[in-house]
């Protein structure tokens, strides 16, 4: 099966600019996650969707970050305005709630964001 797709792969912006990331999960996967991975740290969950509804966004900095999954498939994560500390790799993952892969999250390649 095709994996989780993300774009762009790299993005360089200046602080106070806006940026958006796109994720296409594995076909049929109802659950979608966005993680932020700062250099030297493990991934940190930002937001979790079940179909087009938000399950958990407790760690999303809502003053500047937003995410949507309007049709329950693709998702976008936006940062507006960006700060220097937002420099990180943004990972998207998806999960199928059925079958043998019930407990496995499948990750995309990530988007590396550099804020100057």
């Amino acid at each position: 099966e095709a994996g989780v797709a993300q774009s762009p792969r790299y993005k360089i912006i200046e602080k106070r600019q806006s940026v958006a990331f796109w994720c296409n999960p594995i076909s049929g996967h109802a659950t979608l996650y966005w993680y932020q991975q700062i250099l030297g740290q493990g991934p940190k969950l930002l937001i979790q969707f079940q179909n087009n509804g938000v399950v958990d966004d407790s760690q999303l900095p809502k003053d500047r970050f937003s995410a949507e999954r309007l049709k329950g498939v693709d998702s976008t994560l936006k940062i507006q305005p960006a700060k220097l500390e937002d420099s990180a790799v943004y990972l998207c993952a998806s999960r199928n709630r059925d079958g043998s892969s019930y407990n496995e999250q499948f990750f995309g390649p990530g988007t590396r964001l550099t804020v100057l």
């Binding site: 994996g3 493990g42 940190k44 969950l45 399950v55 958990d56 990972l91």
Partner: protein, 109 residues
């Protein structure tokens, strides 16, 4: 607080030597733990999960609730095991994962 600690950021062993990557967790409920691995220029992927009690690529991990640990072990390291390893804890049924900071394992020839 619910957290995962991987005390070693870097671990280097020789090929053929035993490997142990440490993971300790703090969680008030019944823990569900995973090991994820990221090989060079590849995606983060699941290596194994404690509920399956499986051995993947020669790796095993046993949940020790008394010591709140889930260490990853392999008796004989291979060069292709060189990678970044992350221990993760599931905080709930919707699979909200908390990751440790990771251990970079290097296998020397």
């Amino acid at each position: 607080a619910q957290r995962v600690t991987q005390p070693e950021k870097l671990l280097s062993v020789f090929k053929g030597a035993p490997v142990e990557l440490k993971c300790n967790y703090s969680y008030s409920g019944s823990p569900e733990l995973f090991w994820y691995v990221q090989y060079s220029r590849q995606r983060l992927q699941l290596l194994l999960r404690h509920i399956s009690r499986e051995s993947i690529k020669g790796f095993t991990a046993d949940l020790n609730k008394g010591e709140t640990s889930f260490h990853l072990k392999k008796p004989f390291a291979q060069e292709e095991d060189s990678a970044m390893y992350y221990c993760a804890l599931n905080l709930g049924g919707a699979q909200k994962l908390v990751f440790g900071q990771g251990t970079r394992l290097t296998i020397n020839p």
